[in-house]
């Protein structure tokens, strides 16, 4: 059982490493947010679950479950607000981007007001 938990933790830590690598390598803020949110969410869930499976004798599942639920609920919200703030602050998309509907819609609204 301990070995099983340890292997789950190892898989989770590999996802955490990939999250860090994605934050370093991707070309602009929004792509970094994509890898940063997804890989670290599943990575930390697997890491925490593996640790608590490997130490069954302690009997403190409750707090681990609270931390996992907390990560699932808050991680997408924080990256959502950051992406929105970055777009309003004028951070540009990378040159490889195809289209930007939000920018077009904002320009149209400003045109209507004038």
């Amino acid at each position: 059982m301990e070995i099983f938990g340890a292997l789950i933790t190892l898989i989770g830590s590999i996802f955490l490493l990939l999250g860090g690598l994605g934050i370093l390598r991707m070309p602009d803020v929004y792509n970094r947010m994509q890898t940063g949110t997804k890989a670290t969410t599943l990575g930390s869930i697997l890491f925490l679950a593996g640790i608590s499976v490997g130490h069954l004798e302690c009997g403190c599942f409750g707090k681990i479950i609270i931390i996992i639920l907390f990560v699932i609920f808050t991680n997408p919200i924080s990256s959502n607000t950051l992406a929105r703030a970055a777009h309003y602050a004028g951070v540009k998309l990378t040159e490889r981007s195809v289209k930007d509907d939000l920018k077009e819609d904002n320009l149209e609204n400003k045109g209507e007001k004038k």
Binding site: L16, G20, N75, S78, A85
Partner: protein
């Protein structure tokens, strides 16, 4: 055996945190640094839980909960500052 695998996993997670820290240093924009900080806090929550079991102090789990709470509020505050100033 299991302890060895746990230690290796913690080291791998620490390497991921350091890669994210490199992005925090080179940055280019404030939003980049905020994203790197967000990734680092989530990895460090995992590492705090690991340390709690490693050194047999279950009270550190409460530290992880409160740290997650405060880092979420901090990231939202940074986002609000980016959007419309203080």
């Amino acid at each position: 055996m299991a302890d060895l695998i746990y230690n290796i996993a913690a080291i791998i997670a620490l390497i991921g945190m350091m890669l994210s820290f490199v992005r925090l240093i080179i940055g280019h924009t404030i939003a980049d640094r905020a994203v790197a900080l967000d990734g680092m806090t989530i990895i460090s929550i995992s590492l705090i839980v690991f340390i709690a079991y490693y050194s047999n102090r279950i009270i550190y789990l409460d530290v992880a909960i409160v740290y997650g709470l405060i880092s979420f509020v901090g990231i939202v505050a940074i986002a609000r500052y980016l959007e419309r100033g203080i």
